[in-house]
Symmetry: C2
């Protein structure tokens, strides 16, 4: 294990939601439980692909499955998103107060460039 590649998507929620299609899946699941085929069709992706994404989501705990007869119903378990929300929320005051800062920042930048 000399060199390491990117962190596994299954390592945490941050990695799991980095993939747009997985975000789409999660968004759809807010409407309620659904089988893979449904999700795949609605999102215009193949069933195996949807299954793979769901597996990742399951492994980080953002999704739960339960067998319902022949089908397997996937449901949202959003608790894992809470830490993400909180982490990002820690920057809220920065994107709000940014106006002044950025203005002065941009001025500094222009000045710097003129000096070059």
């Amino acid at each position: 294990m000399a060199a390491m590649a990117r962190a596994a998507t299954t390592s945490d929620a941050f990695n799991a939601i980095a993939e747009p299609q997985r975000r789409d899946i999660l968004a759809l699941l807010r409407a309620g439980e659904r089988p893979v085929t449904d999700l795949a069709q609605e999102l215009g992706m193949s069933q195996p692909r949807a299954s793979k994404h769901l597996r990742v989501l399951r492994e980080v705990g953002l999704v739960r499955v339960r067998g319902a007869g022949k089908q397997r119903l996937y449901g949202l378990d959003a608790r894992g998103l809470r830490p993400v929300h909180e982490w990002v929320g820690g920057f809220e005051r920065f994107w709000n107060e940014s106006f002044d800062r950025l203005d002065t920042y941009v001025q500094d930048l222009k000045q710097t460039q003129q000096e070059e």
Copy 2:
């Protein structure tokens, strides 16, 4: 371009913040602008490594640089985190209301398992 790998980290903020060390860098930058060397030392990583992470953050617009003499000061631009916060926030009521749902869910699950 038959097969595609994972989305580039430079593609958007979601991918950029999937890396823990980049999150650490962003967190540090809340205290103010800083040069690479500072960040690298504080986070216990090599300078080239920090530079690479900063480049990614710059490319997605979460960070800005400005030359200050011999140094280059990196500063936070948190505006790109706002969409992330909003997306994740769209699940807030789900991780709050989850209690009941999960209780009934778990009951269903137990029942299902007993039936197996």
